[in-house]
Symmetry: C2
Subunit: 575 residues, 2 copies
């Protein structure tokens, strides 16, 4: 392929609407084109990258006995009603009526389709285990698409579904897939991706992991231990709090706290320690607007996902008015309306005397002792882990919080879908069971953008050779010079004949600076430059996009040099 024929334009200026570097570079480099909010077309350069990622994933899925299938993008609503998700998923699920007024959905994930496909096939235990996967477009109507290809509404995803007759078998396969995912990320050039325990969210199931590429533009918070190998995302990270406050139990006392509504304001006003206060955060259930109050120690934050999992249904931040059973700014555990569902965080346990709302306008209590003053209090983990928090694995105060981009996830689903959708098999003894499922996803476009985010400089992406649009970028400086052009043409032919993927820039009348700027934006790992100056010394210049190599090589050795470099680069990724 010649640069002169490549569809997609490159330009210098960073587009003002691109917040993250990968987005800006992929727009500037002619990789992607905005079509609508969270919707992009892929230019040929990006399509070459995503096809390579797809093939790496395909190979690794085949290697763990996956069988490729294809589910539809558009599905009848009935299929999603079988699992209950037609009603339980909010507006991310696109619903529409077809020409016959039949209700349809756009696939944002395919658990239902997977179960529907194999429900008849999997009726005997002898068929198990098996795994099916697809690489297919999905549409998820995200509220806030962002960061270019990182969070979009339409995306290509590899989603895999495994089926098992025992938890042990699922766990064994889950481990194989866990390892396969690590191979995918290593082969794609980001072996530094970390695995974190995660919350399963709307997928159902219990054990799950996310593959995170640590990066400050990531929207996920990851909890890592600096002393051991513990890792989890914020939703799944257990928050451990040790309360050893050497203070006396006190009498509960109502104090006037006019207009002091946040616990920080109250504690400052009362000259009290925020750690000895009980903060309220109020939600409502989506289904019936019932109020849910979560109490934490004043210096902790509620993790909404943890709370949602305890509540067992969808919740949203409360809208409090005069009719509400709570008084905004003055909510506390003592004297709270019985119409409210209450949760206490572990961080409140063992504190002899707390400052807390008095459920009365402009009043708080001091001296609240939960064990004494509230009947049947139960402490649960609903708060977010904090920097320097206690590691659940090694017990040290060694937790740190980083940002990460989720590039993959794996779930142990259990029988969540097979049960609701009536998929059963008969075991050896004629007993009927629901098979146990796992599911495993990787977003193709997001992985491409994440690699770009992790591997770039100011001038463009620095693609790992395995997913680079081409392996070699051949520049002919002064293509108007007959001899130079002849040498470069020959090099092009030789490289292609030797099986290298080459993009060749033989544009005449282009300044070297412009040619190199284009090459930087294409981010091809190996660069070969043929120029009149080098040719005088019978040399060809060979360098790498990451600047680790820059060599002037004798012309007769150039081809071999490039092929060796290519091999080394692949070996480094596959080791």
């Amino acid at each position: 392929m010649k640069v002169r024929n490549l569809v997609g334009q490159r330009f210098k200026e960073r587009p003002s609407d691109c917040v993250v570097d990968s987005h800006a570079l992929m727009v500037r480099g002619g990789y992607m084109k905005y079509v609508g909010s969270g919707i992009f077309s892929e230019f040929p350069v990006l399509r070459r990258v995503t096809k390579k990622i797809e093939n790496i994933i395909r190979e690794e899925m085949d290697a763990i006995d996956g069988q490729e299938v294809l589910f539809p993008v558009v599905m009848p609503a009935e299929l999603w009603e079988e699992s209950g998700r037609y009603d339980s998923i909010a507006s991310e699920l696109v619903r529409f009526n077809d020409r016959n007024k039949a209700r349809m959905v756009l696939g944002m994930t395919h658990e239902e389709a997977a179960v529907q496909l194999v429900r008849e096939f999997g009726q005997s235990y002898q068929q198990y285990p098996f795994m099916i996967y697809q690489i297919q477009r999905k549409f998820r109507d995200e509220a806030r698409p962002r960061a270019g290809m990182i969070r979009v509404r339409e995306f290509t995803m590899k989603d895999a579904y495994s089926f098992h007759t025992s938890q042990e078998d699922l766990e064994e396969y889950y481990q194989r897939c866990y390892d396969a995912y690590n191979r995918v990320f290593a082969r794609a050039g980001v072996p530094e991706v970390v695995t974190v325990a995660s919350d399963s969210g709307m997928m159902g199931g219990s054990v799950s992991h996310e593959y995170m590429l640590l990066n400050e533009i990531g929207e996920d918070s990851i909890v890592l231990c600096e002393d051991c190998d513990y890792s989890a995302n914020m939703e799944a990270a257990q928050n451990i709090v040790e309360n050893n406050f050497d203070i006396p139990v006190a009498e509960i006392t109502e104090v006037h706290t006019p207009d002091k509504k946040t616990m920080e304001e109250v504690c400052e006003y009362l000259n009290a320690d925020l750690k000895l206060s009980c903060k309220a955060v109020v939600y409502q259930k989506n289904a019936d607007d019932k109020f849910v109050v979560a109490f934490t120690r004043g210096d902790f934050e509620v993790n909404e996902t943890k709370l949602r999992n305890l509540v067992g249904e969808e919740i949203h931040p409360a809208v409090i008015d005069e009719e509400s059973p709570v008084i905004a700014g003055f909510i506390g555990p003592v004297g709270l309306s019985k119409d409210v569902e209450v949760y206490y965080d572990l961080s409140l346990k063992g504190i002899p005397a707390l400052v807390a709302g008095a459920n009365k306008v402009d009043y708080h209590f001091t001296g609240v002792n939960l064990e004494r003053d509230v009947e049947g209090v139960v402490y649960q983990d609903i708060a977010k882990v904090v920097e320097d928090g206690i590691c659940p694995k090694c017990g040290k105060h060694s937790l740190t919080i980083k940002r990460g981009i989720e590039v993959g996830n794996i779930f142990q689903l259990g029988t969540r879908y097979t049960e609701s959708m009536g998929m059963t098999y008969t075991d050896k003894d004629g007993v009927v069971h629901n098979p146990i499922m796992g599911c495993y996803g990787i977003g193709v476009g997001r992985l491409a953008a994440s690699v770009c985010e992790a591997k770039h400089d100011d001038y463009g992406p620095i693609w790992p050779i395995s997913i680079a649009p081409w392996e070699v970028h051949l520049c002919c400086l002064r293509a108007d010079d007959e001899q130079t052009k002849a040498v470069a043409d020959e090099m092009y032919a030789k490289l292609k004949a030797a099986g290298a993927e080459v993009i060749y820039d033989d544009r005449a009348g282009i300044r070297p600076g412009e040619m190199f700027a284009d090459a930087d934006l294409l981010g091809v790992p190996i660069r070969v430059v043929v120029s009149p100056r080098n040719l005088k010394e019978n040399k060809i210049e060979i360098s790498t996009r990451d600047k680790s190599v820059k060599d002037s090589v004798d012309m007769e050795n150039a081809l071999e040099y490039v092929l060796n470099l290519k091999k080394e680069m692949f070996d480094a990724l596959n080791k």
Copy 2:
């Protein structure tokens, strides 16, 4: 891959809801699963077939300098409003609102997305010509999905778009694509696909061709000349009629034809020749319900597409009531209401005296002479070609009409989209033009099903080796016999090591009949059978699915024999 692990069940009974053979066999063989009307999932067997078809197409598109891109399935309505198709396409185009009430559509074709992608890139003449293509899912809300994968609502399609600065350049590229398509179909095992001139329909543009696999289950009528190479689909086939009726001109005479409403009834009643009658067919314009009457010779049928193209807008069969400006059953050219738009077919030209409606209940005219009795009559081609009609190319009465499945199409679009969407380039002299487009489609799933329809027997598909799910089907009869199993296992290993794609049936306790029935359904071209009986004579049985080869081969020669067979099969497709 082993049959025992293959996901997808096979069964004997023809499903009652399958009308065509390919559908029945692909359901029975575990290829596809019904999800909703015109919506299917692909089991691993079919996915292997469709991937191979996709790769053949990809190679041929790359070979004519196509660059692969990817457009979204979901697009904003605004994009389709730019071209005017948001309003002009009826309910096949799925429209819905996203969570923010933005109007969206599902891509059923991607001309708009193609122009949007390259609108900025293609601003200079120096960028031309170029071609981009994608292989992507589409959703078209067909009124009548039918015949399994032949006519579905959701499908994978390769769609390509080329851009040019002159009609000559388009035509040159069009020819390259025309040839590439023939290579695709030849490589996919259906070199017998014929190319027919076609009507461009809603795509706009003028010249277009369809690739037709002649088959009685096809829903398209194709006009072929039995004497020359003329071919066209019914919509595009020119209808030539030579009228040499040696009858006198007569006076126009009103005759009583009580309750005789069809021209057949009238002519029978009047003892007149149907060929000397003028039949009316009535439509209404979709936009304003205005009446449109098409007159043809009594023995011809109106082709609705030809008429629609002349009218220049969408029409539908008329609903006639007492308010209408026409009287059902008695419509004729003389005395017809001025509120009606009238078209005359060429078949009426040169007939001295016609029977025709008198626009009066229970009356017809005889002796109608259109040139004499109707002012400014213009004859146009609006009728369907008939069997033994006159070939527009060689002039003989040699036309025949066949059924065909459309497996691909190519269009010269002109500036239909670039003009409406404001895509321009500046030429050498600084003059601004709209680029000229071509577009080129192949449905992947439909091609798979069409090949199956063309190549099957009662027991299953007979896949061409290029798109077969596997190349070799290895059967171990009596896998419970240790020696037989060992030989078969070794054969499996050797075949795989030699690069053959093998499906291996080593199920014990399966009757040979059942094993062969499964193999027939999988339709793999080369079959290798290892059995105790053959082994006694040191033989392995090798046959082909199409029954052209059935041989007992010495064990030591078996591998080479299979590999040769494979090579021959591929050579036959690539020649």
